[in-house]
């Protein structure tokens, strides 16, 4: 990613307040929060580290789903203890968080025909990106893959915003049956790809992008520890020619033919060609 994107100068600890909690589906929660300061500073593809109100577990990495005025929203799936705890929050409750974090998507460069690929919880990372592209008058196709029908959440939100939405499910209960990358491979070529989802999905996206010589930005999701670059728990291997690039200051540290960059600090968004698959 361009270096200027890597600075998160507004990053800080913000005390936010829940103004609405909605269950979009079983075990899928949308929290709308009053977050002055944080909301205004947010760029597409950035995330927060949500501090557990009980103080009893590590903070949780969550994409900033929406950011408008002084408000943001978080969209998350209940996966374990920490998302369980966050799901218990209700209107009026406080939630502190570190943010906005990460470099975010580069929505400049005027893509005319953008493809956004989202798998599972990856959907939470791409709404702001879609909105920015639409504002820049790009055509935006959303390829949205999920395991099953119930896990396709808030697709309408993207349609209302002006995206063409192509849904795939592993079990065929909604949209095309198969993997979201199958749908991408079959579709007419975009001039830029933005993707967020599990690593195997991103690997496919990278392959498709390379085959078609389309530039692709990938938002990676791995288990985070600190979320701020301090623990080196969240690395990704760089392609040989990215290793010494100035935007990966820590990356060359391995001293071998592989170099790792921190997903939380140098990412979470990388150009597909920057990574070694």
């Amino acid at each position: 990613m361009p270096e200027e994107m890597a600075t998160t100068s507004h990053a800080g600890v913000y005390a936010t307040r829940v103004i609405e909690r909605r269950e979009l589906a079983k075990d899928v929660v949308l929290l709308r929060l009053d977050a002055p300061g944080l909301a205004e500073a947010t760029r597409p593809g950035q995330y927060v580290m949500a501090i557990p109100p009980s103080g009893e577990a590590a903070a949780t990495a969550l994409a900033i789903y929406e950011a408008e005025g002084k408000r943001i929203s978080l969209l998350f799936f209940i996966m374990g203890r920490r998302t369980q705890e966050l799901s218990a929050l209700g209107s009026g409750d406080c939630l502190s968080m570190l943010g906005p974090l990460g470099n975010g998507f580069d929505c400049s460069g005027d893509p005319r025909d953008a493809a956004i690929v989202a798998g599972g919880v990856g959907i939470a990372s791409v709404l702001l990106c879609a909105q920015a592209l639409l504002r820049a008058r790009a055509r935006v196709r959303l390829f949205y893959g999920a395991r099953t029908r119930e896990l396709v959440v808030d697709a309408q939100r993207f349609r209302d915003a002006g995206c063409d939405v192509i849904v795939t499910t592993d079990d065929g209960t909604l949209g095309m049956q198969g993997m979201v990358t199958d749908a991408l491979a079959l579709a007419p070529e975009p001039d830029m790809i933005f993707a967020c989802g599990p690593t195997p999905m991103l690997r496919s996206v990278a392959r498709i992008a390379a085959d078609r010589r389309v530039r692709a930005q990938l938002a990676l999701e791995e288990t985070f520890g600190c979320g701020v670059g301090a623990c080196w728990g969240c690395v990704v291997a760089l392609a040989g020619d990215s290793m010494q690039a100035p935007n990966f200051p820590g990356a060359a540290r391995g001293g071998s033919d592989i170099a790792y960059a921190r997903i939380c600090r140098e990412g979470p968004v990388f150009w597909a060609h920057e990574l070694r698959w």
Partner: protein, 318 residues
């Protein structure tokens, strides 16, 4: 009453606050600067550095577990040369002390890195991370063997007069034996404890959840193990102890001071909330003031009194 004093000494190292930020958990401090006031921190212990650069382990490197986490970073670091040339000068203007951490795979490695690191003014003290396998002895962990630990400490001691903190591994039958040898070999202070070995398995994919298979368990889950280790080591040695393992609140920190720690180290709790270290020192002041204690040092080891009840019985655990 006057404001209680929180200052502590670890050998010749003087700290305004008794809180170290644990090695590998706080980067070089810069990463946390937007979220925490580094001037309210006793010292930052840097990520362990080795002689040669290390790529570290493959991903995944972290797993969250009940009240804790497993990590297997694999000591990723750029090696001591790069570190001294291109990194260390950036840490000179931190508003708190900086402690270097050294890891190695032979006694010679430790001495080599320690000497170079200790030569630098940015470094106020050196911590020895002995939880590493010894390549010369079929991978036996240095910290799991009292005499190997002593060799490392002696070799490091010979290279520097800076305060040496030896960070003990809990993965031993008797941590006090290792502690005594480390003291005799010239340690100025002991870190008690490093992470506990553990593992988690992905039951859908039938594979270990860490690429390295096993990792180090940290966080509140290990606190009772750490408190006991501090309690026992405090009775075995005279040098000060840096207590650590699962400290998240002032109550947790107090358990360690009362068990015999002169200072504490806060690692994983920073991942929960970077405001925790500052909150702990503030609440420590309040606690001491409420109890009319003028200086933190007065309460160190104060729980080292045998409990007695009318029907005390000398039994055992279990």
């Amino acid at each position: 009453m006057v404001r209680p004093s929180l200052a502590v000494r670890l050998g010749s190292l003087e700290l305004a606050y008794p809180t170290l930020m644990g090695s590998g958990c706080y980067g070089s401090g810069a990463e946390y600067a937007p979220f925490a006031d580094l001037s309210k921190v006793g010292a930052i212990v840097l990520k362990s550095v080795t002689r040669a650069p290390r790529l570290g382990n493959a991903m995944p490197r972290l797993v969250h577990t009940p009240a804790g986490m497993l990590n297997a970073i694999g000591l990723q670091n750029p090696g001591i040369d790069w570190y001294l040339e291109r990194e260390l000068h950036k840490y000179a203007d931190r508003p708190c002390k900086i402690i270097g951490s050294v890891a190695g795979f032979s006694v010679d490695d430790y001495a080599f890195v320690c000497e170079r690191l200790a030569a630098r003014d940015e470094i106020a003290a050196v911590e020895l991370n002995v939880s590493c396998p010894n390549v010369d002895r079929e991978g036996a962990t240095f910290g799991c063997d009292a005499s190997l630990t002593a060799s490392v400490v002696r070799a490091a001691r010979a290279t520097t007069t800076k305060p040496l903190i030896v960070k003990l591994s809990p993965n031993v039958t008797d941590i006090t034996a290792v502690a005594r040898e480390a003291e005799d070999a010239g340690a100025d202070a002991l870190g008690v404890i490093n992470t506990v070995r553990g593992m988690a398995i992905d039951v859908e994919r039938w594979k270990p959840r860490l690429a390295n298979i096993s990792g180090g368990l940290s966080g509140p889950a290990i606190r009772p193990i750490a408190v006991l280790a501090v309690y026992e080591v405090a009775q075995a040695v005279k040098i000060p102890i840096v207590g650590q393992g699962g400290i998240e609140t002032v109550t947790d920190a107090l358990e360690f001071f009362l068990a015999g720690a002169a200072a504490v180290s806060i690692g994983t709790a920073n991942f929960t909330d970077p405001r925790i270290p500052q909150r702990i020192v503030e609440e420590l002041e309040t606690y001491l003031a409420r109890r009319n204690v003028a200086s933190l040092s007065e309460i160190v080891g104060k729980a080292n009194v045998a409990f007695s009840t009318p029907h005390q019985y000398e039994g055992d655990e279990g």
